[in-house]
Symmetry: C2
Subunit: 207 residues, 2 copies
């Protein structure tokens, strides 16, 4: 199963890579040294890239070749009130969540029956004061994917939109750590894989 | 009722302006000559601005002063497959739909009880092949607003998210005209006003 993990050096991406050890793994992320260390550990190939850069994203996906499975474990979080909303912060969130997914679907090559896994959000957790820009990025991603799902179906490619509760990763560092009850990355990765590898895969997987 | 219409030279915005003739109307749009003609017709004030420009948006909203009612009748449509997706096109849709709303909520001043009206979309109409980028812009807007709604409630400001079927406006020109069964702008404006002016206003108005 030729598998690409985008955001492999993140908390969830790393946990997915470890859980998939033994598969044919292609790992991408921005931090090249960490990525190489992870690739050695799981016997995968390190393909460092910044997915905000279209040429880098394109080169990465050409190098990755035909995939059976891909995880888009990419994202960032920011907080701010409506009155403090900053154009750059919003654009950066949209680049991290939406644009990287758009490039994966634009340049990725997928074998028939391939599964593409993305991470949306529970509306009630993100549509809250202070997180409007983050919510917008997740809403943009979810709506993009629901349109994309219908195009991909024609190619026999299945899209799984996963909604997770908070996961205890570095994303939460700026907010004093993850909220109570957050899943560990290992637990989240296990639940994601269990759901995604079902036959047939669910369209939306709520963990 | 001091009322601001953003996108007043658009099909829906003009129809709203005509239906609100007699109110204290502030009309904004990019096409200054058309805007002045409309303002004369309805007895309003023309405030031309390009809402993609933060300084113009800020100046406009300062000049508009304290509002009782605001309509964000701003948007654009584009079509393209996942493989043809263009970064610029997606960014432009997000600027038109999301960024202009963000600036309205960032710089607008609202009287207690004010109503702010935005136009979302029925997921089933926009989450379709060829419209993923448009869907993303509408999803971003809707999720941003649902988070914003909770912040605005503290200020006693009410947000109405309107979902309309297709409206026969110039937006459809690049696609050979509006789809069958599209509402006329006058009919859409009448239904929107009828819903928005209810007491209390609905959170989501599906026309």
């Amino acid at each position: 199963m030729r598998t690409l993990i985008l955001g492999a050096t993140g908390g969830l991406g790393s946990a997915l890579a470890l859980a998939l050890k033994g598969q044919e793994l292609l790992l991408s992320g921005r931090r090249a040294a960490e990525l190489r260390a992870l690739a050695e550990k799981v016997g995968g190939q390190a393909l460092p890239a910044d997915l905000k850069d279209e040429l880098e994203a394109k080169a990465l996906l050409e190098e990755a070749g035909e995939l059976d499975l891909a995880f888009h474990a990419v994202g960032s979080v920011a907080r701010g009130s409506l009155r403090e909303a900053e154009r750059k912060a919003v654009e950066s969130l949209l680049e991290d969540h939406l644009l990287s997914a758009l490039f994966l679907l634009k340049y990725g090559r997928f074998r028939p029956g391939a599964r593409l896994v993305f991470f949306g959000a529970y509306p009630r957790y993100v549509q809250v004061p202070g997180f409007a820009a983050y919510a917008a990025a997740k809403g943009a991603l979810e709506w993009y994917l629901e349109a994309a799902r219908k195009e991909l179906r024609r190619e026999g490619v299945r899209l799984v939109l996963v909604r997770l509760p908070a996961v205890a990763t570095g994303l939460w560092a700026p907010f004093g750590g993850p909220p109570k009850g957050a899943l560990s990355p290992e637990e989240a990765a296990r639940k994601v894989l269990e759901g995604v590898l079902q036959e047939p895969p669910p369209e939306v997987l709520e963990v």
